[in-house]
Symmetry: C2
Subunit: 422 residues, 2 copies
């Protein structure tokens, strides 16, 4: 037991060392020579050093650096890294979204909340429809309302707020009208996505939908999110004043992080993603004096921790698993891009953005990231989808996730105002 | 699998939130009202919220926040927190010792290295002798060279460089002659302690000592440590220049952390503690431009992470287990204090320190901390000591660990020069 845990910790520390070095080297190369955001380099580094590539090789005297974990109780392995590494990566994502929340201009966020809701609905509806008809189109099934196509629809609706928040933060565009709309829409998307998933799991397990169950899950998630956000905004000045009373070094930072972690854990318990809780509490504290005080030290933490999340995201990519149903994969990926860009972009156009702004919003909603992977993993674990459809979902996720930074940066650099109509 | 890991991560995030809040509240109270270093408050917070006290209570709707982990393969549970939490705490200790190394004045360290070696030898020899004779004194055994007393001797030799480094850092006394002597002696102590443990395990398993095995283990550990420290000092200017070439934000910090993690993992693989590797690489980089650049952001990381280590240390305390052999426990604890304070203090007196300086060094070497717990855990896992002797070792560790900050701060505040003889 003792030697076992010592070994686990040593192995984790070695993994983190390799991840940090790989992240920074790849990030630097990507920025300097490819003129692309460093997050793209970090994702690629993860693919290269991960358990499906170099990480699986045995190093003399060290063994395998990133071995696939053993499946417990005969369950399918969904997350191909150790619990410890996955935990560190998830903590990093919580810090990422907390910082994104702190950096958001609350007034601007509230101003664009209605537009964001419309964008989110479009960004959920069209990808869902595309997801359930894609397997029909490719001859995998006749009925788009079978559990498999329904599940694929859920995977398609996901939006990875992590990727977008990181890029928007890096290029300092979080507080543009498009920036806040994307972040707010991604939050609403998460709530809607959970509702869709609840419905589909209900159908898969009982063959029907229980309206009361959907209402319960939806009410719980929405109610908690509204309570956290509104309550947080109301008591933020008091929290700020209380935390600034602490005089010991670093206390306000540690306490603020503690708050973010509590909000994240509560969000998960109420059926939302952890990152939604972290973002909401960050948003609530964004206008306070506390934010001014903790922002600089928090950014140091950010740079040391957040790259770990993106490298681990890259590690989830299993290129081999994608090739199994490559035809459906390509069709689904194209549909995923079109349905999200137009599904979010057209509503944006309808609520006041011009073509430049709507394009930015459509692209910003594009990456599926870890949210889609987690949904697909649930499907695989419950046997609703097989390894082939899982591979297809991964392909779609990877392409949309890698495409987002490549497209988003130029879309913000060229153009200009995304609101004014000509 | 998927829901399982999500649950693990949520639970960990909630634990970290509670730990951070408890650490900072307790630290603030300790500093402000008890005028004691905050590390003492953090340790106490750990005892109170840990798995042997409040943490074991079931919270409605949440369950048990700090449950004891299930023992794998019928092994004894030595570390009473989850692998994930223990991993985070260990990473924190690596950061702590890396910062302590960076803050050490290398010239001063080398100047006092000979004195420190003498102090370390005394600080290992006397506690070891006290440890093997205490059970004889109390009638537990007749032979001080039985495996149980020998093991207790090993537990007694440990020095927790973590506790001392934290306190010396907090009161800015790392670079006094006493400060560097304590840190260097603690490092040498770790090497000597590993040799002693190797010998005792050899006796326990084969009934005798293989000189070649001891030479191998000792040579490996000493050789690695010397190579890391001397090699590190020689190439530090090049490492500094290379890392400062990276332009992306936070790259130099993340890369330096990566280096520290690699050194820590390698140290563990060569039979040393991780923290020794982290300290040595920090020491090597202490005079470079890189240090100037990363010190400020690193301190933010320090304040967010290091308290977690001390709260988790407090969580290891099981007051109930200590009461089983309370008589031996009290005797052993008194011997632990006397043998370490005089065992390190008298050699210090002999190598040029005055009484004030020698007292500081003796107290600085006092805390056994996590090192003793790990050694005791090995003994328990191998069946060399029973739960009663384990409880005794814990009592000794807890008292010396809590006593150190209480005594060390006043010893540095009063007095003055620890070298000049009157």
């Amino acid at each position: 037991m003792e030697e076992n845990i010592t070994h686990i910790v040593t192995h984790l520390v070695l993994q983190l060392a390799v991840i940090l070095v790989a992240a920074k080297v790849a990030g630097e190369l990507t920025e300097r020579y490819l003129k692309q955001p460093s997050v793209l380099g970090e994702l690629c580094a993860g693919v290269i050093i991960g358990p499906f590539a170099l990480g699986a090789l045995s190093i003399p005297g060290l063994g395998v650096l990133f071995p696939l974990p053993h499946a417990a109780h005969g369950a399918a392995i969904f997350i191909p890294v150790s619990n410890e590494l996955w935990s560190v990566a998830q903590i990093a994502s919580v810090v990422l979204l907390f910082v994104a929340g702190l950096e958001t201009d609350l007034k601007q966020f509230l101003r664009f909340a209605p537009q964001a809701s419309v964008v989110a609905i479009g960004g959920v509806f069209f990808p869902f429809v595309a997801g359930i008809y894609a397997p029909v189109l490719m001859g995998f099934t006749d009925n788009p309302f079978d559990t498999m196509p329904l599940f694929l629809g859920c995977v398609m609706t996901a939006t990875s707020v992590g990727i977008t928040a990181r890029i928007l933060g890096d290029i300092q565009q979080i507080n543009t009208p498009e920036g806040v709309t994307i972040l707010a829409a991604a939050v609403v998307d998460d709530v809607l996505g959970i509702l869709a998933l609840t419905i589909v799991i209900g159908i898969a397990e009982t063959g029907g939908v229980s309206i009361s169950n959907v209402a319960l899950v939806g009410g719980k998630a929405t109610g908690f999110w509204l309570a956290l956000t509104i309550g947080g905004i109301l008591i933020a000045p008091y929290i700020s004043r209380l935390l600034l009373k602490f005089q010991s070094t670093g206390a306000s930072l540690a306490l603020a992080l503690g708050l973010a972690f509590i909000a994240a854990a509560l969000a998960e318990m109420f059926g939302l993603a952890m990152i939604i809780g972290a973002y909401s509490i960050g948003l609530a504290l964004s206008g306070t004096e506390l934010k001014e005080r903790i922002m600089e030290p928090l950014e140091s933490l950010f740079h040391g921790l957040v790259p770990i999340f993106f490298v681990v995201m890259g590690m989830l990519v299993n290129l081999e698993a994608m090739t199994a149903s490559i035809g459906l994969g390509i069709v689904l990926t194209i549909l995923a891009i079109l349905s999200k860009v137009f599904g979010s972009g057209l509503p944006a156009l309808a609520v006041g953005f011009n073509r430049i702004g709507s394009t930015r919003i459509g692209i910003g909603m594009l990456p599926r990231g870890e949210v889609a992977l987690i949904v697909a993993g649930i499907g695989l674990a419950r046997g609703v989808i097989g390894p082939d459809i899982f591979g297809v979902a991964i392909l779609m996720t990877v392409v949309t996730t890698f495409l987002a930074p490549i497209l988003l940066v130029p879309s913000f650099k060229s153009g200009g105002d995304g609101l004014t109509k000509h």
